[in-house]
Each structure stands twice: as structure tokens, then as C-alpha cells.
Symmetry: C2
Subunit: 399 residues, 2 copies
């Protein structure tokens, strides 16, 4: 990657002029770096009317929020671009469009989504997008079904698995999801008052064994091309619209990981709302989140089954009833991975606004306690929760 | 592969002189083609004392038993050689030694095992090797544990998965194991009298759904570097010795596939013995086979757990109790894949001597019927058979 250099705003503008695919490139005049993520530079490119036109995203060769001491492969830009291109093929309505990618510069150009807002920010403020959950379920079903063994020719599937092998990004998940929160690790961060609860996770045999199984399946089960990090901060929403972004963790893994990550972030919000909003708004928001959880799963499962019935090419997997049987396993995985997301976002390193923005410290601690407790409950009960109604009942009971 | 040419016996001798690694290459004088398999040329190379010294094996660019109409990748020679080299690293006592491999010629040189005999031939004649089952369990545990996520660094595991992607050979298994016997396929072959039984397989919902799940896990679950075809015809035995050969189906798949294939072939023999031997010998042989099934599983599980306890490097999977929990899933897979092996060897295309050598037609039909019935029973009961003793009870009950 001899030509790699970190972009300045001026570089980003020049690049957008050349590769932005806009009709009038000479009107592009300025760039604003808006990367609030942990890993990349993100430039919004404006024209001379002050209108943002495209986005230029460049991978940095290290973890941005930690610094150059944590180097990270630039190949993740390829993996992100190719994952999004693949997902766009199958679900253009809910995937950001990538219009250009350059391996040497680890840079991609994508559609501007200024009309949208990051879903997490809206959830934290109690702004409700009633269609978002159904749309997220649709995105998950379309992208995961169309990259699965149900429909890909076995030769193509194997080639795709090889193309999307993503060791460095997977390792981050392997560590942050499945190791750190269950060990006494320096990266962990949680209120001191929760030390006894967190310490109890480390010695909970059934929990540790279940988490090991989830990690093992994350390692081994190449069921579909996952987004790999589909939390509410990787999702843009607007009225009637939802777009997934940020797929640098894309790889072939267990379908329940994506679905569980999505549900987990809705439930983190559920746990945080009493600390974020006034009591009545918080109660309404919590009901919306439970309804969102139901809608995501039902939209996902319904569409997945519909696609399986209409489009499965594998003659064995096309047998009536198999897709349903498979989805029962995905459901159990979903609950388990949902639980690990709740715990890694509260005990582990990667905290989220749903908790960080709670001003009252005692309240924040209680909200975090609830998220950890819920996460543990779900991981332990994953194989025994019959359906989404039983899940909602379990959540109400737990926190 | 411009230099590829099919070896004559003389070519094989010349090649062995050059690459056989024998101290006195000039003494090598003749070759005998002994390939009784379906896919390859196999030459035994003799010295001027009439002693066989090494084996030269060359892949043909088509399926030998079908002809040039069924082309097959020469890359399988690489996959076979690399799988055996990898397995030899972890279990030299029970893996044939590969001393040389050439990609362009799709040829490898391996140790001569003339002191050994193919296990299936011995099983068919009622010759008992009391140590073989324990040794096979040892081979399975050592090779599968050492290529699993328990011990491989995640980066290395992913690279190995890519190195051993084996689309064409996997496709043969995908078709012959999981499709043909459950559909009305021209490749199938079974006694006409069994048509009603075979037809009933095609419409058994629970069976078809279970087989679809086994096929899906064969596609997706990259748990370890499998041999991929570890039946009794891929195993050499001698007094106190056992060596696995013929690993061209090697790829990263579900551990239960290898263990189930191994057990399935012991149970085919169990089903065939009444047609092969006199009643008392057959009864003794059947008890030996059940005892072999117990010994393979116990040796495998015991060693796997011992290795997991001593050598697991993954911090999550090292948690006490996880390896046991994982082996419960492997056990269920093992029973399921064992069932599919019984059915594909009796309904599908690839029949074996354990049935083919039964002279009495009515008896042969009954033995095949028993094998099919047992296969179906095992596939359907795979998730509900507690342990190996329960399995043996189920087998005695079924046939």
C-alpha cells in the first residue's frame, strides 16, 4: 500500500471531484470531517451552494479512538465496501450505496445521507420512527438470506467465504464481545458499584459455557455474509427510510449474530430510557422498544421464510419445513448474541450514548445494572424462549 | 497445468526414483497399478528384490469409475496431500506419511503400507483387529482437535479454512450423501424389493428436514479440518496399527461428519455380517462392531476432552465444562451423519463390499433393508440419544 496517505479535507474534496460521480464536480468546494466512529475518517463533501453531495470515507491504519498503538488493517475498507455492495444488491432500499472504492488509499465514496439521522441519537432523545424496526427486519432478511446456503451455489458460497475472511476485525469482536466482559480485563469499564455483579459473571459456569458456545459459533458457522456490527449507531433513519452503513466487520458468520446485535441495541435503549427521559416518555419509549423488538424479529422471520419458499435453490434445504426449523436455531442464537451485546456495551470497552448520556450517576448505574442483568438472563435462557412474545414477557419480568 | 500427463507404470517408477526418498533409487524397477478406488491411479513401486518400497498416487482429471464424462479437479491431489500432511503433524502414528507432492502432475509419493490391509476387506471376512477402533478414535480426536478453534489462532484458522476450500469434492458429498438417496435420482441403486422403503424416505418430513440440517451444517460449520471420507476403505490396519489414507475430501467442516462416517461404516458391516459369515461368526462379529462403535466414540471423546483441558488456547472455549458441552453437539451430529452414511451406501451410488459381497440375493436385500432402517432411525433420533450405551441399545432394538 505504498500510495496510502491520510486524507486532509482538501484531499477529500479533490478525490470527490474525481470519483464522486456527481454531474458537476467543479462545484464541489469543501469538506467537513464528521467521523464520530472509532476507526475512520469520514468527510462530507459540500458544493458551492453549501449542500452536501457525497461522503468520502477513509480507513486509518489504527484504531482511531485508541491511537497508533492499536494498528488495524486497511483491508477493512475493501471488506466494508464489498459487504455494502453485496448487501446493496439484495436490499438497495436499506443499504447505503457505495459508488467508488480504492484499495490502495483504503477509501470509498458513498451516497450522502444528510437527510437521515443516526438512529441511536434519535432513540436516545425519544424520537420514534415507527417503520424503522420493520425495515431493519427487512434488511436483515434480504441480506442474510441472499448470501446464505439456501440460495448461493455451493461453489460461489465457498468463494465468497474466502473473499470475506476478515481476521483482524473479527478478532476485535472475538475479544470485546466474548472475552473481555467475562474476565478482569483492563479494557473493561463500568461503575464501581457494579463490581460484585460484574465479578459474578466471571464465575457463572452456565453463563461462561454459553458464551463460549456463542464465540465458537462466531468462529465456525459461516451461515451468511453478516454486516457484523449492525447496532443503532450503524443505522441511518428518516421518515419512512432506513439505511445500514459501516460494514467493516462484514464476514460469513452465524445469522443470529446480526439479528441479535440489532435487538441488543434496542434493548440497551430500553434499559437506558428511564435515565434519559421523563417518566411518562420513558415508559412510552420502553413500550416502543419492545414493540420494535417484536417487529424486527417478525419482519425478519416472515421475509426470510417467504424468500426461502420462493427462492431456495438447494434441493435438500428447499424441503418444506426446513427453513422454519433452521429459524428456530437462528432464534436461539439471536437471543444469545443479543445478551452478549448488552453485556459488552455495559461491562466492556464500547459504551453507547443510551447509557453515557444519563446524567444522574445513581440512575445510570441502575440502568447499566439492568442491562447487564438482562444480558445474562437472555444468554442463559436462549435455548428456552419459545417465541418473541415469550421473549418480551421475559424482558418485562427481568428489568 | 500444462505439464500434466497420465502416468504409465514406467513413469511411476521413474518418478519414484527421483522423488521417492529411498536410499537406493536405482534398485526401483517396477510398478503395479493397484488403484481400486474411484478417482485415482495408485502405483506400488517395487525394488529388484520384489519388495514394494513406496507408493505413487496420481489424480485423474475425471471420476475413474464413471469415466471422462465426469471431470474432476486435479487440485484434489493438493487437498489430499495437504490434509494428510496436516493430519500427520498431529497424529503421525495413524496417518499415512506423504513424502512428496507435485501440483502440476497432481501426484504424490507416500509410504508403502504393504504390511497393512484395508480394514473393510478384513471386516467383511470377519478378521478382528481389537485395537483398531480405539486407534481410529485417537486419530479422530488428534486431527480434529488440533485443527479446531480450541487451539488454532483465529487468524491461522481463517487462513486454513481458505486453504482447504474444496468445492468440487464437497459437491460430490453434498449430492451423494444429502440429495440423491432422498430423491428419485438415476444414480441411486438398490434392490427393487426395497422400492417402497426407499420411496418412503422421500416423503418422510421429519427425516428430510433433519437431512437438510445435516447438509446445511456440512456447508456452513467449519469446525475442524476433516478427513472428509473416513470410511473403512480409507483405513489400513495391521496388528496393533491403523493408518488413515485417501483424504481428497479434506476441508473444514463439522466434526461429527468424520466421526459419523467412521461409525456408519462399522454399522454397515454390522448390518451386512449375517449375509457374509456363518451365523455364529456373524453374531460374534456384530458384537465386535457394537463394541467397536463404543470404543471409537469413547476413545475420541476421552482424548478430545483431555486435549481440550491441556491445550485449549482460546480463553472463552477453555472455560471448564465447555468442551463437554460442545461434544454433546458433536455427538448429535455424529449420530445424524452416521445415519446419512448408512443410507448413502445402500440407496445411493457408492455401495460397499459389506453388502456387495453377500451372495444370497434375498439375504442381501434384507441386510440392505436393515441398514436403511437403521440409518433412518439414527437420523430421526440424533438429538435424543443420550450416550453411546443408549445408541447401542437403539441399534439392537432397530435391527
Amino acid at each position: 500500500m505504498s500510495q496510502y496517505r491520510t486524507f486532509t479535507a482538501a484531499d477529500a474534496v479533490e478525490y470527490a471531484k474525481q470519483f464522486g460521480g456527481v454531474d458537476d464536480p467543479s462545484t464541489l468546494v469543501s469538506a467537513e470531517e464528521i467521523g464520530d466512529g472509532n476507526l475512520n475518517l469520514v468527510f462530507k463533501i459540500y458544493d458551492n451552494q453549501g449542500k452536501s453531495r457525497v461522503v468520502v470515507k477513509q480507513a486509518l491504519p489504527y484504531v482511531r479512538c485508541v491511537g497508533e498503538s492499536w494498528p488495524l488493517t486497511l483491508d477493512r475498507a475493501r471488506l466494508e465496501a464489498q459487504t455494502l455492495v453485496e448487501h446493496y444488491k439484495h436490499c438497495p432500499q436499506h443499504t447505503v450505496q457505495i459508488t467508488h472504492y480504492d484499495a490502495e488509499l483504503a477509501v470509498m465514496v458513498m451516497e450522502d445521507l444528510s437527510s437521515h439521522r443516526i438512529w441511536r441519537g434519535e432513540l436516545v432523545q425519544g424520537v420514534y420512527y415507527p417503520e424503522a424496526s420493520r425495515q431493519l427486519g427487512e434488511y436483515l432478511a434480504q441480506t442474510l438470506f441472499h448470501t446464505s446456503d439456501f440460495i448461493l451455489h455451493p461453489h460461489q458460497k465457498k468463494a465468497e467465504v474466502a473473499r470475506f475472511i476478515n481476521p483482524e476485525m473479527c478478532e476485535i469482536t472475538e475479544d470485546l464481545f466474548f472475552n473481555d466482559p467475562y474476565t478482569d480485563h483492563e479494557r473493561n469499564k463500568y461503575p464501581e458499584a457494579l463490581e460484585p455483579l460484574v465479578a459474578s459473571l466471571r464465575h457463572d459456569d452456565a453463563l461462561r459455557i454459553a458464551v463460549a458456545g456463542l464465540k465458537h459459533r462466531f468462529f465456525a458457522n459461516a451461515e451468511a455474509l453478516l454486516h457484523g456490527d449492525i447496532h443503532s449507531g450503524s443505522i441511518f433513519v428518516a421518515d419512512g427510510s432506513l439505511k445500514a452503513i459501516d460494514a467493516e466487520f462484514g464476514y460469513f458468520g452465524p445469522i443470529g449474530f446480526d439479528v441479535g446485535t440489532a435487538l441488543g441495541n434496542l434493548l440497551i435503549n430500553y434499559c437506558g430510557l428511564p435515565g434519559l427521559l421523563a417518566p411518562r416518555e420513558a415508559a412510552d419509549g420502553r413500550e416502543q422498544r419492545l414493540s420494535d423488538v417484536r417487529d424486527v424479529w417478525i419482519a425478519f422471520a416472515h421475509r426470510f421464510l417467504e424468500l426461502a419458499e420462493a427462492k431456495t435453490t438447494d434441493v435438500a434445504m428447499a424441503y418444506p419445513g426446513y427453513a422454519q426449523a433452521f429459524l428456530r436455531k437462528v432464534w436461539a442464537d439471536t437471543i444469545g448474541y443479543c445478551g452478549t451485546e448488552l453485556i459488552r456495551r455495559t461491562v466492556g470497552m464500547s459504551h453507547v450514548a443510551d447509557m453515557k448520556l444519563i446524567k444522574d450517576e445513581a440512575m445510570r448505574t441502575e440502568c447499566i445494572r439492568n442491562a447487564i442483568t438482562l444480558g445474562r438472563t437472555l444468554i442463559l435462557a436462549a435455548d428456552h424462549i419459545e417465541d418473541v412474545e415469550a421473549l418480551l414477557a421475559r424482558i418485562r419480568q427481568a428489568v
